[in-house]
Amino acid sequence: MTDTPTPVTIGETEIDAFLRLDRMPHIWCAGCGIGTAVGCFIRAVERAGLEPDKLSFISGIGCAGRAAGYVKLDSFHTTHGRALPFATGLALGNPELNIVVFSGDGDLLAIGGNHLIHSARRNIDMTVICINNFNYGMTGGQLGPTTPLGARTTTTPYGNTEYPFNVPCLLAASGATYVARWTVMHPREMERSIAEALVKPGFSFIEVLSPCPVLYGRLNKQSKGLDMMHDYLARSVIRNGADPKDVEMVPNGTIVVGKFIDIERPTLWDCYKQVFDRAKEKKDK
């Protein structure tokens, strides 16, 4: 017996039924973590026992946004930052659908930031998986709203002078009823967390820290995906129930991962359903 893992070939795995194999190979770089997150998502769908035909998968633009093109579900590759309002229409147009938004930090937190806080505030029943790779990958590695202070990107050649978002704190403050953060080095925890989020009514948000060695890493002395992943693992500490105010990431500091928020609040649809009766009462008067 050897503990060398068996190489996995696309087309021979248990998640194949959920992938558009005719679109392989995918466009993601070696060492990128997005594929791991897609795998965790698919396993989570199976774990949660969801009917795939009733699952809509919506992405914006960017590296993570390409995930919509690879999953064999009703999948929508929308415009930059607009996955959430598009998903809002789907969710309210047919409340029987399970809605998953899968996109990147630049897409969801910068250009789509307004939609993000308002979707969380409304507590729309959907699960948002936010791949955070600390920069804009698709366009070649520019500053994003999650880029650490001091980090180099192609548009911060002298180091980033802006503070990044504390993402879980922003989402908790906006009203999300489920907030978690994992790295791609926590695939089992991430899978369980996504499965939990998928079946939980309301707005669930999972931040997934994902290495981008080719662009972000190269400019920040971590050009190997494996090194970045080891770094995540070394710096991570699981602290379920941590106060989101205390999970801010600082350069080279501890990365707090875990499930931070899991509360109950009526969803937008729970509240809107009452409108039908109220409107009828008023009309009948």
């Binding site: 035909d53 929308t78 607009r82 229409g89 939609h115 009828k280």
Partner: protein, 383 residues
């Protein structure tokens, strides 16, 4: 109000309200919007009325969100609409393009006010006509209808939904503040289901379905989310499978079809009304609120012995270019009054191609033309 919540009968209502009722009668069951003068009453009416018919209203965080939400709702299988004005219309342009690219039926109402920028929020203009045609980036064709009364905004909103479902394209209702806020008699008929169009759905099993494979009419059947087709759609240039293909060839065949499905069907889409054009030596080409004033001016010109006629555009896009070309052989000149500094006049001039004179009668917005101004222009044009 009937048992199913849809109105019928004779009412006194303003254009914004009539627009909302037209949408309800057309089967619209989802509205996403953002308050903006002078379109707010459309949203208010929809928020009150949609729950009566089992529909959903949502007020989004901005017009970008509104436009996207109606696209999403349409893919959930629901007829969807938004309504806005100037600045909101500008914000919707990006995802109007997404609607065109994904071939998503939906209706966008613009109750035009004077611009640019914040302009005159409470006063009319027709300044967004070229923006309606060209506002989103890239090459595409769009359908835009222009009502001139509360009755017409009711009627054309239904037409807009029907065209949108038939051709799988966002359809614009380009009204203005004067019509939106004008109250008149509106007759709401009982609409029978055969007068309402619904998008064609796929008849093949999921494994054979190609989301963007079109038949002769160039409009592909549309699956909706949750039907088991597990389709993929993208704003990227795509092939018949809906998969992104980054080549000039893929771009060529997709864009040609998106444009041709409107251009080649233009005789089915284009609508206009003509008054006294048979023997006309001058034709006033007008649309929307301006056409009502033009009608009076044309009548006065006839009374003064001038052979004047009116061509009232109902669809501004696609433009009635074949008809203008024909008329250019007959008339001495076209007079084009519009509440902007020259937009549709450019189309008239292009189609007249030097065979007839074209006279722009601009109005910068904030009010409407006086009949006298148009009459004067008619007289000048035949001298």
């Amino acid at each position: 109000m009937s048992e199913n919540g849809v109105l019928s009968g004779t009412f006194f209502m303003n254009g914004d309200i009539a627009c909302a009722e037209g949408a309800i009668s057309a089967g619209c069951r989802f509205f996403a919007g953002y308050p903006i003068t002078p379109a707010t009453e459309v949203a208010e009416r929809m928020s009150e009325r949609l729950p009566h018919v089992g529909g959903v209203y949502i007020q989004m965080e901005d017009e970008i969100g509104s436009m996207n939400a109606i696209l999403g709702a349409s893919w959930a299988g629901v007829k969807a609409m938004t309504a806005t004005s100037g600045p909101g219309f500008s914000l919707m342009m990006e995802n109007l393009g997404l609607g065109v690219m994904l071939e998503t039926p939906c209706v966008l109402v613009n109750i035009q006010r004077a611009g640019p920028s914040t302009g005159l929020p409470t006063l009319p203009a027709q300044g967004d006509i070229m923006q309606a045609r060209w506002g989103s980036h890239g090459s595409y064709e769009i359908i835009a209808l222009v009502p001139s009364s509360p009755q017409e905004i009711f009627d054309y909103t239904i037409d807009a939904f029907n065209l949108s479902e038939k051709y799988r394209v966002p359809v614009l209702v380009m009204s203005d503040e004067a019509v939106g806020h004008m109250s008149e008699k509106v007759v709401i008929p009982e609409i029978s289901p055969e007068n309402l169009v619904s998008r064609r759905r796929p008849e093949v099993p999921p494994e054979e379905y190609l989301p963007y494979k079109a038949d002769g009419d160039l409009v592909p059947p549309m699956a909706i989310a949750g039907d088991g087709y597990r389709f993929h759609v993208t704003g990227l240039t795509h092939d018949e499978r809906g998969y992104p293909v980054m080549t000039a060839d893929a771009q060529d065949s997709l864009i040609r079809r998106l444009v041709d499905k409107i251009r080649l069907n233009r005789n089915d889409i284009i609508k206009y009304e003509e008054v006294d054009v048979e023997d006309a030596e001058v034709v006033v080409c007008a649309y929307g609120i301006t056409s009502r004033i033009a009608r009076l001016a044309v009548q006065q010109a006839r009374d003064d012995g001038i052979r004047a006629g009116l061509l009232r555009l109902i669809t501004v896009w696609p433009f009635a270019e074949d008809r203008i070309r024909e008329l250019a052989q007959q008339v001495k000149s076209f007079v084009v009054p519009e509440i902007n500094y020259g937009q549709i006049v450019l189309e008239v001039e292009r189609c007249a191609a030097g065979k007839a004179n074209t006279m722009l009668l601009p109005h910068m917005g904030g009010s409407v033309h006086s009949p006298h101004t148009i009459l004067k222009a008619i007289k000048e044009s035949v001298q």
